[in-house]
């Protein structure tokens, strides 16, 4: 039960309800906990509820961290 799986929104079914797909599996999910979902959005689904929208890009924070780690390891490619 305690697993979150990314799903892509396919159809908005009504207030707080949407049809979403994870691979070949289609499920009706609840969207009470996220704002303004549209078909094509990727959401993290946990126990039948979308808990957050996912962005396709790594955050800047992640890139900064990677550079800090490489600098600490003395990686010549760090900048």
């Amino acid at each position: 039960m305690c697993l979150a799986v990314p799903h892509t929104i396919e159809t908005i079914l009504g207030e707080h309800r949407a049809l979403a797909a994870a691979g070949a599996v289609r499920t009706e999910i609840r969207t009470d906990l996220v704002d303004d979902v549209e078909p094509g959005d990727t959401v993290l689904v946990h126990a039948g509820f979308a808990i957050e929208k996912l962005s396709p890009e790594d955050s800047e924070e992640l890139k900064a961290l990677w550079d800090e780690l490489r600098a600490l390891a003395g990686d010549p490619y760090a900048h």
Partner: protein, 355 residues
């Protein structure tokens, strides 16, 4: 250079100098660590300890027995599937269902609303378990049931809050943990603030990580970096999914429906303010009130050492029941029942390698 698991592991080997014990709090992290074989590429200085982050495992025996008692009294009891096999005095939800009682598996809390509407002459009770990830779904169910005035629905709210348990373990002198790999999805809901006590009060790194092997390794690398540079902090390496302020909609719903209360954790005991009970405004949906239940802490099965497993004090092979009396097909304790439980993960993946 891409951020890949082998490149992060190579970096970890270069930067890790001091021996560290890091707890991965979440059961999904535990399973991912095993499945991917991460332990085999960690530097010898880094030890991973599994924590209490499996909702089935920490649900107290007395809480499951309360749900079973409502089945015996003729109610429909709906629960997530993982709860069905947890053995209790007098059987499990699954064995009660085989005996003809009306226990139903749901994959979403909102399904319980339909069950209640379709069975207006039955009492329908939802067994609400889990951490801050499942609690908003229960809150949405209660809020919707109140809005629509569904009189025959109620909830056993045994949801648990993660930060008080993490603080208990951070302060435990026997464990001597050096940092925490924090549960990514709990932090999607909570944001950063509830775990800031780790660096601020205990001087420990708290790093929020995702669940893929490369994300876990990156989280561990950040914990090591903080140690080596003497700069403990609360930081997310989970990318855009975790916002500093959390999911404000979910937090608003939790605040509206729940209040904090003391809660029993299996094998750990009662942790102050670690539970979520229904607020007074929603007490007509509180199954404990509706059925006048008085909850007693349940006794764990004889010989079961789930409590010590959940707090990272022993690893499952140190329990005499592991692999002999206790297996996934015939579990004695809940840590073996759930796919996310530490004993279940060790049963499937442990080959005697370094803990």
């Amino acid at each position: 250079m891409p951020i890949s698991a082998p490149s992060i592991a190579a970096l970890l080997g270069k930067i890790s100098r001091t021996p560290l014990s890091v707890m991965e709090v979440c059961g999904t992290h535990t399973v991912s660590v095993f499945r991917s074989g991460i332990r085999s590429i960690l530097p010898p200085t880094l030890r991973l300890v599994s924590g209490p982050g499996c909702p089935v495992c920490v649900t107290d025996q007395g809480e499951i027995e309360a749900a079973i008692s409502l089945l015996d009294r003729g109610a429909v009891v709906a629960a997530y599937g993982d709860m069905f096999k947890v053995p209790c005095k007098g059987g499990s939800l699954a064995s009660k269902r085989s005996g003809g009682l009306d226990a139903r598996v749901v994959t979403s809390a909102m399904e319980v609303l339909s069950i209640a509407v379709e069975n207006p002459d039955r009492e329908v009770v939802f067994l609400g378990v889990g951490f801050e990830t499942t609690a908003p779904a229960t809150a949405a169910l209660v809020s919707e049931a109140a809005r629509r005035g569904v009189p025959n629905l109620s909830v056993l709210s045994f949801h648990k809050r993660t930060p008080p348990a993490v603080e208990l373990l951070a302060a435990d002198p026997d464990l001597r943990l050096s940092g925490f790999l924090l549960p990514g999805h709990v932090c999607v809901i909570l944001g950063h603030a509830p775990f800031r006590f780790l660096p601020e009060k205990y001087g420990l790194p708290g790093v929020i990580a995702g669940f893929e092997p490369d994300q876990i390794l990156l989280g561990l690398a950040e914990i090591v970096r903080q140690h080596e540079q003497g700069a403990p902090a609360l930081r997310s390496v989970y990318g855009t999914a975790v916002k500093k302020e959390g999911n404000t909609k979910a937090l608003g719903l939790l605040e509206e429906v729940f209040r904090h209360r003391d809660a029993p954790w299996r094998g750990i005991g009662t942790i102050p303010d670690s539970g979520l009970g229904l607020r007074k405004a929603y007490e007509s949906f509180d199954a404990e009130k509706r059925f006048s239940l008085s909850l007693l802490p349940g006794a764990p099965p004889a010989g079961c050492r789930c409590g010590e497993v959940l707090t990272g004090k022993i690893i499952p092979p140190e329990c005499p029941l592991f692999r002999s009396a206790c297996t996934p097909l015939s579990p004695v304790g809940p840590c073996m029942v759930s796919g996310e439980g530490t004993c279940g993960a060790y049963f499937r993946f442990y080959k005697g390698d370094r803990s």
